[in-house]
Subunit: 433 residues, 2 copies
């Protein structure tokens, strides 16, 4: 049996998963890759930290030089996270002709170009299956299996924390803040949850996925982003009334070369396969012009699922015999040039919730503003949800397909009405057509 | 741009899909593979058949020799189907150092060994993504993405015809025979539907998938098989009462090295992701010891979805520069030795429907037979579904987990009771635990 030495940078959640899999599934990996994999070094900040599982002290190191200068180490696994020093370490390791596997979506989405170029220049492989949707092999799916297709659409539930929160709000009728607190206590949400709940994490992932699917470089700022913090129980109740559920959806649609890229809470039919993606599960649905709708579903985070993706990348490198160079997937160059939509230009249906004064004429005033802006309303609901003991009433509008810019202009006018108390929410509705 | 010539054997459903995709997505395929693909020859039985789409007459041929003797043809796509002449043609083409792509599940499941061995010997690639679940990249998923896992379970809805029939029976309350007739009229079922409705097609596919997932050669006869012809509306009604749906499930479970392989109608919870796989859609759920539950969902048949899988195999061959040999996936040899379960040895829950005489004591007689055989009953139902104007009553038993052999022995005794009219059905129930 051939042997190969690798090194891990980081031994947190993902590092632990990789370590455990390489040990417990040693035989599988040997038979499938042709190599016995030895973890020669692991970079950490604190060698003496209690880690709750067994790892030989002598392979832990706090010095990156120990790794970079060891020519017997052929593959470096970056699972530190963040921009620096992860970026610098990977660039250095590539210079030393080491292949790289990473799970770092933030770095890929914001500074991926530099890494791809360097990998190309040095002739090393650079793989990142774990960076999007944890254990789901979506990167490989796009790069290897959808090669015969023009991708037309991609819809993803790619953030486990927000999906857990929305599922709990839906199932237990709880409010956002209560569920967030519970999720933090249970370890499903970080102490600082901003990146998840404000949609940044999904934005990174959509930038990576759509770069691959459309063969064009997509920057984070090309993706419109809204988080889930404005979703209230009442919106979920209304969604139920419409036989819909609310998901934080990452969406990209190619309309004749213009890409409509966005991350926002979205109402979808409760019978659509994506509606049953619950708790911390993730899913990505891709529509290709040949294959039709294809969905990948699985665990988007966690030590072992994410480790599974990292180790599959290690096996891919080993199967290429670690000495064959220049086999990186197709992201590095633009295959196609694309335009990007401004959010005002997109077409969608909208759910709009307002609080208004409970008096004659308000409804007419508001609906005529939408009419003037060419926003045609499918339904206007004002039942059962009046705000008690106040002269206020909840109004829910659902539009037909229209331009978001027109909806926004209408809402600007509505905002100026004396009879308006609050524009509570605007949620886009998706029919997957 | 480099050019490559290929040939199609067959221009039926799948052949048409491949032809259409190679034309309509030419640019995508060129950019992703680095090659301009030219279909130099297409083998058919009848050159003059009206095909309903454009294909230049001069590339059609009825002589396989035209193809085999043309050294400029590097890849041969077998989409004739059946055993002969498909088998012989592929073996011949391999001898001439042509790479092969096939969609032929029947041949792979029954005579795959010979083809893999020959491909290996000749140093050509032999790919078959389209053979299972049409457009769903499940072969690549197992071979390339699950490499870090011990596969523990695999559950598949892999036959579109039966899933369409069961969906219609469920949604429209129709009887099996009526739906089958309708499906045949609409082209969703073949004139001779035996292979689909008796589960043979699923059996082939399970043999292929589990060979890959477990790295061991699995023959068709190792897979227990039952079709859907015995499912009646009343069973579907009872399933609904239990909040379950009935699916023709292909199942394999690895119990410490013994494989429990079977295809049969199965009751599953209506909230499980597989329960929402409706109409002609397919899905495969795999449980890996690292990744957890991973599901692939999409179109399992049809010209373009199946063509999409075939063309992705062509791209894989081209990316290997068509001259690098010996890169076939891992099926060819046993990586592990496995035992196989006899159906009597499996553990499951069961739904059993009986028609019995409506008289005092029958219930006790029957339940005590099951008790004697160590089959513990979870519920016994006898309500609302009496057979009108006769002294008969429907009895539905649901068991706890038990050995199938014991259930069968109990049913043999029940069959001998004077008070029994008929054992109508036995359906296994799956909790995915
Ligand atoms: N967690 C998931 O489920 C998941 C899923 C997909 C992708 N990812 C990505 O995977 C990466 C790692 O995530 P994680 O959850 O495993 O992070 P984590 O639990 O915070 O672990 C980070 C590890 O890196 C080490 N580290 C941090 N800074 C370092 C430095 N300057 N020098 C040396 N070592 C340093 C830490 O050392 P000490 O142990 O000594 O503190 C720790 O072992 C991130 O890019 C993340 O986005 C994570
Ligand atoms: N249909 C699907 O959705 C699907 C999905 C997955 C896999 N598959 C597999 O794909 C394969 C093809 O299926 P299909 O549905 O495309 O079959 P099909 O529609 O029956 O087409 C068969 C084609 O092969 C040609 N052919 C048959 N016997 C021949 C012979 N002896 N010599 C030369 N040509 C011959 C026929 O020629 P003529 O046109 O001249 O009659 C026809 O073009 C099968 O293995 C099937 O299991 C099919």
């Amino acid at each position: 049996m051939k042997k190969v030495k690798i090194a891990l940078l980081g031994l947190g959640n993902v590092g632990r998963g990789v370590w455990k899999i390489l040990n417990s599934n040693k035989e599988e990996i040997m038979k499938r890759s042709g190599y016995e994999v030895e973890v020669a070094k692991i970079l950490v900040r604190d060698k003496n930290k209690e880690r709750g599982f067994e790892v030989p002290k002598e392979i832990l190191t706090t010095s990156f030089n120990d790794i970079i200068e060891d020519d017997s180490i052929k593959i470096v696994i970056e699972v530190i996270g963040g921009i620096e020093p992860a970026r610098e370490y990977m660039l250095e390791a590539m210079k030393r002709k080491k292949h790289i596997v990473t799970a770092n979506k933030m770095l890929l989405a914001t500074g991926g170009d530099e890494l791809f170029e360097r990998a190309d220049k040095e002739g090393v492989m650079f793989l990142y299956e774990a960076s999007v949707a944890g254990g789901i092999p979506i990167i490989n799916g796009i790069n290897e299996s959808l090669t015969a297709n023009k991708v037309e659409r991609l819809y993803g539930i790619v953030n486990g924390t927000t999906n857990y929160i929305l599922t709990k709000m839906d199932q237990d009728g709880l409010d956002f803040n209560d569920v967030l607190k519970e999720a933090q206590e249970k370890g499903y949400a970080e102490a600082d949850p901003t990146s998840d709940i404000e949609g940044y994490d999904s934005q990174y992932k959509l930038a990576i996925l759509s770069s691959l699917a459309f063969g064009t470089k997509i920057r984070v700022q090309d993706v419109y982003r809204e988080g889930i913090t404005k979703i209230e129980s009442i919106d979920i109740e209304y969604a139920k009334e419409f036989k819909k559920v609310i998901k934080l959806l990452a969406v990209v649609k190619d309309n004749y070369g213009s890409l409509d890229l966005r991350v926002h809470p979205t109402m979808i039919s409760e019978t659509h396969p994506l509606a049953n993606v619950n708790d911390a599960f993730n899913a990505v649905l891709i529509r290709g012009n040949a294959v039709g709708d294809l969905m990948f579903y699985g665990k988007g985070a966690g030590d072992l699922p994410t480790g599974s993706a990292v180790v599959s990348d290690i096996v891919s490198i080993l199967r290429n015999n670690i000495d064959i160079y220049n086999l990186n997937p197709v992201v590095k160059n633009n295959l196609w040039e694309k335009e990007f939509y401004d959010i005002n230009e997109i077409d969608s249906k909208y759910y709009i919730r307002l609080t208004v004064e409970d008096k004659v004429g308000v409804l007419g005033e508001i609906t005529s503003i939408f009419g003037d802006m060419n926003v045609s309303l499918r339904s206007v609901i004002q039942k059962g949800l009046e705000i008690k003991n106040e002269n206020k009433v909840t109004l829910v509008l659902v539009t037909h397909i229209c331009k978001e810019g027109n909806v926004r202009k209408a809402l600007e006018k509505v905002a100026k009405l004396d009879s308006l108390y609050k524009i509570n929410n605007l949620i886009r509705m998706e029919d997957f057509e």
